[in-house]
Amino acid sequence: MTKKEIFVVSAFKDNSVWRQILGICSTLAVTNLMLNSLIMGLGVIFTLALSTFTISLIREYTPRSVRMMAQTLIIGAYVIIVDILLKAWLPDVSKQLGPYVGLIITNCILMGRAEAFAAQNKPLDSMIDGIGAGVGYTLVLLVISFIRELLGFGTLFGVRVMGEGWINWSIMVMAPSAFFILALMIWAINTYYYKEAK
């Protein structure tokens, strides 16, 4: 595969969220505001890119028995960097995201890419695959948060877009709406793929 193909496949065709149903926790939790979603997405792209690169780099020297633990520690190290950077530069966002930054470690997308791709492929290819998966994930976050923030607060990235008469849908700020929107999204995309397959 060329590098471009690797990126397209991991970002869209095999998108971790809607095709493999991975990394749902944070997909749902941080999507009530677009800014939080964007920051979270960037954090995941950063962690994915560097951790897949590192894991691939040492793939021949890691004994199979401790592979999982080694991968977790590598991912953990990069997540700590993201956390420290956020706390220093964007303390407000860091506070709102709360435990979900740390939870990037247990986000199944990271382990999934590490196991499925980085453990067998060259470092640079793995990095591109990681960035692809991260971009695909961020895209889903942004779509969901677009709907939730627009209807729930009447704003986008904190800027008011709905007119004076707009009444906020308080359900969009609460947990259930995230489940419903993601379900509808998966439904639409699956239906599209079934049609394509026919």
Binding site: L22, G76, T106, I186
Partner: protein, 195 residues
């Protein structure tokens, strides 16, 4: 935080359900909930590990990380504590209660990567809980998770023969069901919220 451990325990089950309001532990929730029996098995294992690791991680944070000023290492340290505890538990159960090992054992490796366990440990630190509060919160969260997965498994069992649109089958319909459950759980929120 002045909430008594008793109130915290019930709040963690109903008003701030770890899965339905904090979205933690979704991966194994969606993939294991096909059968009621295995859901119950995993749920019980999660409850046990969650209660124990909440206490352990509290102790580790208070007596190791804070005195040495290495709080920033909490992510890695918590993960190691959880992984080590699960591994140890697996060995003990296999050695002394083989029957239990065959019914619960297969779920133990799944638990290390269950984000509910790790998430609860992070919540303890952020919300500054005391030791007893942590244990109560851990146990309550575990039981809340068990409740959610059991309900989903029961409903999915009923849906097996029903006609569900092809694109919605599997994860899609599970998410819709979970959304409806989350809506129902909002009804509890008048009691006491933990935020």
């Amino acid at each position: 935080m002045g909430i008594t451990p008793f109130v915290l325990f019930w709040a963690a089950i109903f008003t701030s359900n770890i899965l339905l309001t904090n979205f933690l532990g979704m991966c194994s929730y969606l993939s294991v909930s096909k059968e009621v029996e295995s859901s119950a098995g995993l749920g019980i294992a999660v409850t046990f590990v969650l209660t124990a690791t909440a206490g352990l991680n509290w102790l580790v944070y208070k007596y190791i990380l804070v005195p040495f000023h290495i709080e920033y290492l909490q992510f890695i340290v918590f993960i190691i504590v959880i992984a080590a505890f699960v591994q140890l538990l697996e060995l003990i159960i296999e050695r002394y209660v083989p029957a239990l090992y065959y019914s619960l054992g297969i779920f133990l490796p799944l638990i290390t990567v269950n984000c509910a366990i790790f998430g609860v440990s992070l919540f303890l630190v952020i919300r500054n809980y005391s030791f007893l509060q942590s244990i109560a919160f851990g146990a309550g969260s575990g039981i809340g998770w068990l409740l959610a997965i059991l309900m989903l498994a029961g409903i999915r069992n009923r849906l097996k023969e029903k006609l569900v649109p092809a694109g919605l089958r599997g994860a899609g319909i599970s998410l819709v069901i979970t959304g409806i459950m989350a809506l129902a759980f909002i009804g509890f929120s008048g009691i006491q919220a933990v935020q």
